[in-house]
């Protein structure tokens, strides 16, 4: 199915449409206490890259991917603080950054599904929330994205 390509809506409309879904998602990812900061961070990041969006294809998946990244950053920051006195050894490049690059050419929905599943280790129930679809549709989008990547020689 072709996704309709539309110009991006005024940010106010986008924000009002997605604020509650994103907030609920973040409460699940980072907990009630930290969700408010993560919420602000998510929409501020969205605002900064809003103009560079070429079209309005699946803004929901787009903003949930940002929220997922904010949650991961929050987790890493907490872990770094907790382990302040130990040497921190980490991959220089997080898995999701690489994956976002590799998945760049997938259709928006499949791209979000693959990144959320393999980059952020999200459960299908959370991916479904991000895509605004059923869990079954989230699974399908993920596996279809993976198949498409495999055909290009990318293995996950």
């Amino acid at each position: 199915m072709m996704e309709a390509v539309a110009t991006i809506p005024p940010f106010e409309r986008f924000y009002v449409d997605h604020r509650e879904g994103v907030f609920g998602f973040l409460v699940r990812r980072v907990g009630r206490d930290r969700a408010e900061d993560a919420f602000q961070e998510t929409f501020l990041r969205a605002l900064k890259s809003y103009e560079s969006l070429a079209h309005a294809g699946n803004l929901r998946a787009w903003v949930f991917t940002i929220a997922a990244r904010v949650a991961v950053d929050d987790f890493r920051k907490r872990r770094a603080t907790a382990a302040e006195h130990e040497p921190v050894v980490e991959d220089s490049r997080p898995a999701y950054a690489e994956l976002e690059h590799l998945a760049g050419e997938l259709p928006p929905k499949e791209r979000a599904a693959v990144v959320l599943r393999y980059g952020y280790d999200l459960e299908y129930s959370d991916i479904a929330l991000a895509l605004g679809s059923s869990e079954e549709a989230a699974r399908q989008a993920t596996s279809s994205g993976v198949r498409r990547l495999r055909r290009k020689g990318v293995t996950l």
Partner: protein
Amino acid sequence: MKVSDDLDRRFRERAVSEGSLDVAYDLVDSPIGALLVAVTERGLCRIGFDAEPERDLDPLARLFGAKVLRAPKAVDEPRRELSEYFEGTRTAFDVPVDVRFDAFRLRVMDELSRVPYGEVTTYGALAARAGKPRAARAVGTFMNRNPIPIVLPCHRVVGANGSLTGYGGGLERKERLLQLEGASLTLLG
């Protein structure tokens, strides 16, 4: 999950303070109905009558960029000046404006901004002062499409015979504003 009013307000304020918006707007109550008041970083860019954000947001986004957000704090200054104007304690606006016009329209709007509180002029006189005495009709169009009525006082421009002629926000509002300013339509000359 419901986003609390407090969190919502804090996000909107941060979006403004970080300078990330193309346009911030809010609805402002007035005796002539709710006004949509919008600002860019440079200044006041829109005052709309019969405010209906659903309808007003798209033109703002097309003109100034898609990063349009309701942010009450950002319009505090024009809100205060408008409220003083409607109370009758303010006769001129100090708030900076952001209008994007070509040269002739800019001259016309500049002349318009010099028409004093409580006085009226005509479309023809304004055209003449802007250097094109025959352009009364074009001046009428500019007035009709004035992006920031009240502050740029197109309500002070009337027909050569002293009739109110027209107003983007409806003749009733034009009359109301002139009454508020104590303008006398019989003193045209």
